[in-house]
Symmetry: C2
């Protein structure tokens, strides 16, 4: 493999000095880009796009051709793992993901068997290998997965939910069954992320999209404990040992200080928090990734630059900041505004690294 | 008017000693009760139910006939005010509220005129008067409204939203227009809550359901500033002066300490926070209302009692706690579990008031 020519992301995740704050964008390969929509149309469906290493590689690289981004992130979906567990993933247009066979009982949970992820999801690892070849050291490649709790949410609800009453109900009525599911998911995710690393992923991110819907004791017991177990297992795995791990719970709010203790390199921070507060609360033990409101990209270029300046100032001087949105970029976003953001981060962050 | 025989709620909101922690339940008059569903069926629609003082009074009183609750809350909807502003409220079955004429431009905002709320919404105040007669001093009656920000969300989005991109987009593209809308809504809400108080409401609650979707500076500028203005205006209004005001922002998280400074009697707290932490953060300056996870009512009676005990212990000894859920009761809830909750609060809270 050619050497990495832009290592800002990996250095920032290790809290080492950098010349400029690295920046990438959650869902940077996505529907806001016309070239993505064209490839998606050729593929015929989101699932076909994700399952084709050639097309998934193509869309992963599209934003890098446009913008001066400091990382690529594998184009895939967090629901590959439940699909590999046999739940039958499909997408309903305009409504998001659905499972044909959601988990409706403890018996459904106990019928699950950990899959051989290399056999079940070969296209994921083929895409990672192809991406590493195509990137040729330009920027690092981030692999990712959903958190055990977030995957359990989708698997029990059968899709998204407004109140998560089935999966949270299970946490109150049969917590032991939920723990069995979370343990199985954690085992599977270790294999899955390990295989992504073996194929070439250079950093890993775990998306805990729905941890924020739990109570504080519920978050500790059903989400954070399994993020911690996952982090510990990855730290001991030969393929993932030493790879920076980014944990992201949306709406983590007051739990960020606890989340910083589980053994990760960095925390993703949503746009509702102030990085200055989070940096104090986490005591410099982790890098922080975030946290522009995705809707801020609807503002004028001047307004976007002002928001970038505000967030850089909030994090303050010194290493350990990866600029990102606080959540995925929206499809209605003007791609030119993403360029304004990326360039503003590089330009305006220089004084913080002097 | 007969004297109030159960003043636990009002005493707790003023942080005065009580014998037991008062308890009421957000959406306590609602679809989880078969008698509510029967009245709703007779009315023909939610709007017809809400607009009939007789039927709205009937459903307001239903949970009090079943459970030993310490407060009644007017049966109505926060969207009466946008409806009075001419947006044309209707409900789509299974999808929630919609407006026929959402605000799509600054020109739409500037065409709005503050309504005469007494003429536009007579049924609300008739219901309050009828309820005070029917309650005859049994428990206090809570009046309520949506916060300016939350009403602006519905009015600009035209209904609910997954990302609030229109209204948050406006906060980035034309903040002055958004401020004009929020100021108009604040004026209207002062009149609306004042008229509820003149008709007999004995405490007031403002629901800021969507404040939590903002960034921290955005929350301060577009939500909290108008909660503060509303609180100040109500404190100076002859009809509302001295009435306890409860402010509730869902997902307020780290902003609760600031929210406690705006001049309210109490803060509603959602289930993601720990009352012990919030009590410290707010320094005892306000009473706290909350905060059981509504989904905890899906657990067994033993589990519900354990969660009640945990929350009472988290708040700790002394006055200033009003027990409630952290959000509205779900329609799938077993009414008998609500009874378990109410009775457990009264029974288990006695030692904290000894």
């Amino acid at each position: 493999m050619p050497p990495l020519r832009n290592d800002r992301l990996l250095r920032a995740l290790r809290r080492e000095p950098v010349d400029r704050t690295p920046v990438w964008i959650m869902r940077q390969a996505g529907r806001y880009l016309p070239e993505y929509r064209a490839t998606r149309a050729r593929a015929g469906s989101f699932l076909a796009l994700m399952r084709s290493p050639e097309l998934a590689t193509e869309v992963t690289l599209q934003p890098l051709a446009r913008f001066d981004l400091d990382a690529a992130i594998l184009f895939s979906d967090i629901l590959t793992v439940p699909d590999a567990l046999g739940l039958g993933l499909h997408f309903v247009e305009g409504e998001g993901p659905r499972f044909e066979r959601p988990l409706r009982s403890a018996a459904d949970i106990d019928r699950l068997r950990a899959p051989d992820v290399e056999r079940a999801l070969p296209y994921v690892f083929d895409t990672v290998r192809m991406l590493r070849r195509e990137l040729a050291g330009r920027v690092p490649l981030i692999g990712f997965a959903g958190s055990p709790w977030t995957l359990a949410c989708y698997m029990v609800e059968g899709g998204g939910s407004a109140d998560f009453r089935r999966v949270k109900g299970l946490s109150y009525t049969d917590p032991a069954a939920l723990h069995r599911l979370l343990a199985l998911l954690t085992d599977t995710l270790v294999d899955y992320l390990s295989a992504q690393a073996a194929a070439g992923a250079q950093a890993l991110m775990v998306f805990d999209t729905w941890g924020g819907v739990l109570s504080t004791p519920g978050y500790r017991e059903f989400s954070l404990a399994y993020q911690a177990r996952l982090a510990q297992r990855l730290a001991g795995d030969p393929a993932t040992r030493g790879l920076p791990l980014i944990l992201f719970t949306k709406n983590a709010g007051r739990w960020l200080a606890e989340q910083a203790e589980v053994g990760c390199a960095a925390l993703g921070v949503d746009w509702t928090q102030e990085l200055a507060d989070v940096r104090v609360a986490t005591g410099g033990r982790v890098a922080l990734q975030g946290n522009l409101d995705p809707i801020a990209l609807f503002g004028s270029p001047e307004r976007i630059r002002a928001e970038v300046a505000r967030i850089l100032e909030s994090y303050g001087p010194g290493p350990g900041h990866v600029f990102n949105l606080g959540h995925g970029v929206l499809q209605q976003t003007d791609p030119e505004h993403v360029r304004v953001l990326v360039d503003a981060v590089h330009e305006l962050s220089m004084p913080y690294h002097a």
